[in-house]
């Protein structure tokens, strides 16, 4: 049933002929959210919404989602949230009802979904009726050339509520941009770190923890962060140049550095 639906109503086979990019666009534009998909699926059952089989509907939706993902359609989070909720509802509907279950019963959950769908259908139909009324400026017309009397709005200025809200929004936005300032941060540069490390590593005889090489005054935590980062990069750089070795005993453990002997390297090479 769901296969037929996907092919019939949603024309997925045709979508398969399209480029991947175009498919993605279609997937989002075709539906107005998960309830919309459920309504299309419900219509395929060809019964009144009040008589619909919720279990069948749930299964159809889950199949739809699986197929959509199979086609690598980009699904918004709303659709997946609904899928998760429906999968839960399905399990509750299939399992025997436990008396002391907390929260809603499976029947209540199903009724909730049904009520939600009924409400959305009602509003869709109401919207369609509204839009098909004789509308001013399209079907019926006010006086084309009113001579104009201003007694409704005595104010000398013509401002709409929308303009007022828009004006406020715009100036709030400008203000938020105007107040953006970036504070200067204390930085220990990579050059400084390289210079210091190359000088010190010669004096250190054996494996030494990286923090030992940090500059003297690192009380400012921001500055310390920067110094650690630069010193680590300096260590990597020296290791790349073959001037140092790095060792770490465990993940997130302290880093040890020591000088690498050139002669050793030459012998190995």
């Amino acid at each position: 049933m769901s296969d037929q639906l996907l092919e019939g109503e949603l024309d997925f086979p045709e979508i398969n002929d399209l480029d991947e990019d175009q498919r993605l666009v279609l997937s989002i534009e075709g539906f107005e959210g998960p309830l919309d998909v459920l309504l299309i699926l419900a219509r395929a059952q060809k019964v009144d919404l009040a008589q619909i089989s919720i279990l069948e509907l749930v299964e159809q939706y889950l199949v739809f989602i699986t197929q959509a993902r199979g086609l690598r359609l980009e699904l918004a989070a709303d659709y997946l949230v609904m899928a998760a909720w429906l999968a839960y509802l399905k399990s509750r509907l299939l399992l025997p009802d436990e008396e002391d279950e907390e929260g809603e019963s499976a029947e209540e959950m199903a009724a909730r979904l049904q009520l939600q769908l009924q409400r959305l259908v009602a509003m869709r139909e109401a919207g369609a009726q509204l839009m098909s009324r004789n509308r001013v400026g399209r079907d019926v017309f006010m006086r084309g050339a009113p001579e104009g009397i201003r007694i409704l709005r005595k104010s000398a200025y013509d401002v709409t509520l929308y303009e007022l809200l828009k004006g406020y929004s715009e100036q709030r936005l400008r203000a938020s941009i105007g107040h953006l300032t970036i504070q200067p941060r204390p930085v220990y540069s990579l050059d400084e770190a390289l210079h210091r490390l190359s000088r010190l590593i010669g004096k250190a005889l054996d494996w030494t923890v990286l923090s030992e090489f940090l500059p003297a005054d690192t009380r400012d935590p921001q500055y310390r962060k920067s110094a650690v980062a630069s010193m680590f990069l300096a260590g990597l750089e020296l290791a790349r140049e073959g001037k140092a070795e790095i060792r770490q005993m465990e993940a997130f453990g302290p880093l040890y550095l020591r000088r690498r002997e050139r002669t050793e390297e030459g012998q190995k090479g």
Binding site: E32, G33, P34, L35, D36, D78, M82, E108, A111, R112, L115, Q116, Q118, R119, L120, A122, M123, R124, E125, A126, G127, A128, Q129, L130, M131, R133, N134, R135, V136, G137, R138, D139, V140, F141, M142, R143, P146, E147, G148, I149, I151, L152, R153, T160, L161, Y162, L165
Partner: protein, 228 residues
């Protein structure tokens, strides 16, 4: 009153003069007028309500009709002539499906919050949707809901009524049926009602069952009595 003599009559008859004035005002205005708006312009002794009613009847079968929206009066062309006048101008503000649904929800459920609209549609509201309806002048903030966060509620404007040719939101198409069917209540309200009905039905079932058992017991006793 034959029209040919209207000008003669008007010059002697105050009422007819008042009628002309109301007619002129309603013809000239570019916005619907309230009875008060018209009264302000007319002599104190004028019965504005009666004149409006006369004009409404006078024009009821004509090419132009006098109609009411949100208590304000205005002339507009007769709806059955739309075939003659309809403008297929490119509707730059053609509403999307989401826009139509959102407008319907605001109209039928007002006052309604953004979160409630999203719940009814089962999907997040795209940012531009309310913006477009606000810009069209069809919706406006109505107040704040007394729930956490005090969210703003939205409702429709008099311009909305004029645009769709409605006297009031009570005249929205199908609103009575929707109300009667409980479709304008929230899902929670409807669920609560369903549970109450189910509980009542269950209670009735149990009572009937007890009644039946008592009857059976009585019959059995009677049978037993007969046997004795």
């Amino acid at each position: 009153m034959p029209d040919d003599t209207a000008s003669e009559v008007s010059s002697i008859n105050d009422e007819s003069e008042h009628l002309r004035m109301v007619e002129a005002l309603l013809f000239a205005t570019d916005q619907p007028l309230s009875v008060e708006d018209i009264k302000e312009r007319l002599p104190d002794d004028a019965d504005v309500e009666a004149q409006i009613e006369t004009i409404r009847r006078l024009y009821s079968g004509r090419g132009v009709n006098l109609v009411n929206a949100a208590g304000r009066w205005y002339f507009r062309t007769a709806p059955d002539l739309s075939f003659l006048l309809r403008k297929e101008v490119e509707d730059t503000r053609k509403l999307s499906r989401a826009g139509v649904e959102t407008l319907a929800i605001i109209a039928y459920h007002q006052p309604v919050t953004r979160a409630e609209i999203e719940e009814l549609r089962g999907v997040g509201l795209w940012r531009g949707t309310l913006d477009i309806l606000l810009e069209a002048g069809w919706i406006k903030p109505m107040g704040r809901r007394r729930t956490p966060g005090r969210p703003v509620t939205y409702g429709t404007t008099p311009e909305f009524l004029v645009h769709f040719g409605l006297e009031s939101v009570e005249d929205l198409p199908g609103v009575d049926e929707l109300k009667a069917a409980g479709l304008l209540d929230s899902v929670d309200q409807a669920l609560g009602r369903m549970q109450k009905e189910m509980a009542a039905a269950e209670k009735e079932r149990l009572e009937k069952k007890a009644q039946l058992e008592m009857e059976i017991a009585a019959e059995t006793m009677a049978d037993e009595g007969e046997e004795e």
